[in-house]
Amino acid sequence: MNSIERGVREVMAAVFGVKPENIDARASAETIETWDSLQHLNLILALEERFAIQLSLDEITAMNSYTSIMALVSQRLNGSQKDS
């Protein structure tokens, strides 16, 4: 597991109150009970702080699963330009 994966898992675990081990590719707003719109906000706040990034509104609304979060955060950290 690389550090981005670990980071995302830890943030999600902290925000949703679940164990990091229980966050996997299936984790999404549908499968995690505590993932409501308010927690989504907390999630964004925590991810931005943890990875020192700023997310756009589009990205924020698109991040509703572990996989989409991983994709967006990795892309941002690896310096690639966002596709317009």
Partner: protein
Amino acid sequence: MSKARQQPDFEIEVDALLAQGQHYLAWAKVRDRLHEPVNLTAYVAASRFADRLDREIAELVPARVALLGSFTLDPIVPILKARALSSRILAEIYVGQFNVWQQEVLSEQSGLRRFNPDVIFLALRAEDLAPDLVYRFLGLSDAEIRAEVANATAALESFLGALRQWSRAKVVVHSLASPVFPVLGILDHEFPGGQSAAFQEWNRAWMDVARRSSDTWVMDCDRLVREVGWSQWYDARFWALARLPLSSTALERLAEEQTKYLQAFLGVARKVLVLDLDNTLWGGIIGEDGFHRIQLGSDYPGSAFVELQRVILGLHDRGVILAINSKNNSDEARQVMEKHPAMVLHPEYFAAMRINWSDKAQNLEELSEELNLSLDSFVYVDDNAVECERIRQALPQVLTIHMADEPALRPNRMRRLAGVFDTLAYSSEDRARNAMYRAEGPRKTLRCQVASLEDFYISLQMEMTIRTVDESSLSRAAQMTQRTNQFNLTTRRYSESELDALIRSGQHEVYTARLRDRFGDDGIIALAILKSDDGAVYIDTFLMSCRVIGREVEAAFLTFLLRRARTLGVKEVIGEYRPTKKNSLAADFYAGEGFEVVHRSEETTLWRLKSDQFQRHYPRWFCMDTDFGVRAHEFD
């Protein structure tokens, strides 16, 4: 680039303490963590710990806090809970649905009623209460502007009126921040009919309401926005997403401020500021650098220390009690405080002082007795990590602040820290408080039991390395003979070449001792010069940096020298003490180590130890690395 994750050590440590039932210590650890730079995850973890602490054992004060407003407030909850916890408050928090703040007080069935709060924070946006004032300002006549403000004021009054029918809860209303982009641009602030003026009028009107009502206050949010900066405060994305107009920085700043109100309401503000002297109130060490070389004055870093003293003087005037806890010769330290031209904090500003060579935890216990104030109202500030650790371990109820930043940063750090003293009352009594304590004089001080020093020393994981002086250490060794004044038995000064000549003479041995501990490497901190002479070893020089006084470094070093004497096969070791104005601290050193006096005159005392007394153990808490080999801690 991703930020390095703050080690979750504190979570593991707190978990362990909770598992052992040590709830007070667990709380103290959380509190200390929250006084360092924090992030959201730390806040969330801390707020979760709040729910696991036994309120009584952790000595927490409960508070039922309601957050009402015209926008989303929920994300602040874990941050507020954590900050309150660090001030000893266990906050149970109710968040009203946004924009139903009026219904919450009017309806008998409301969640707020059932929650029955002790404190209510009311956060309203001008945009919600008086949208025209924000968006159509220039379309309003003067009379209409006044009417908008009057309506907003009436809304607050009816809120309070309805609330007071059934609750005595304290109410703190968030003031409005002045518009950052006022409608009239550069003209606005000078124009009496400008938007900024209208907002100021609004805040003034609310403050009038607060003054007239009981238990109602207005929180100055404008100041918070100024401190953080509007561009860091308002987050347009969160507003669009969830009607949260605040960034995480803003949430943290607000929670900090709200906590100060809770602290004031519950009477848990801290009251006493205890300060170290060397490298805390001035740069350098008075005992080593001397009156004219300590850094205090108009040049940096002295100027930063002057400013820090000014900030502290402001606290004194506010009624915070000041005290000193310093390892120093009392006369020397007092001389600086009384006579140094740049000194701001003269002795008269301090209610009590402990300037001595005793254990600093013991000193704090005595200060607590003398001032008749419990240690949980104390704040202790020191630049020395080891001293801070001693206090944190022995007296966790004291809020210990390790202040070792660049001097330029310390005045603002002290200004921020001063929030722990905030209360909601100020009178002439507060200004006179320190004087009252001084006038009463020191009471009988009781010797109190403090947590074992030995356990503390062991926890430091100290390693002492003793070597003969060589090329790389010659310069430091010479410097130590020239600059060490306090723990210096004979005060003989040597230049590098003189020391070098001594070593080459074949009759002398020069040893340095280096100390490392959990907090870092102190470098070479002690020096000894031995001279072999006719079946005896004479200790020409024995000195130690006052930075490491109080850990029995000198005893360990001497133990090594005695072992060396044994290998040389001598019959006795002779030590000498030559009294000076500064080294009275070392006067009883040889006596304490079992030497006997063989000669005494005004200038010098000679001490002798016979060879049957050479063998002894090192103090248990040192790991010794010497020419005799590396020895792990010697536990009998």
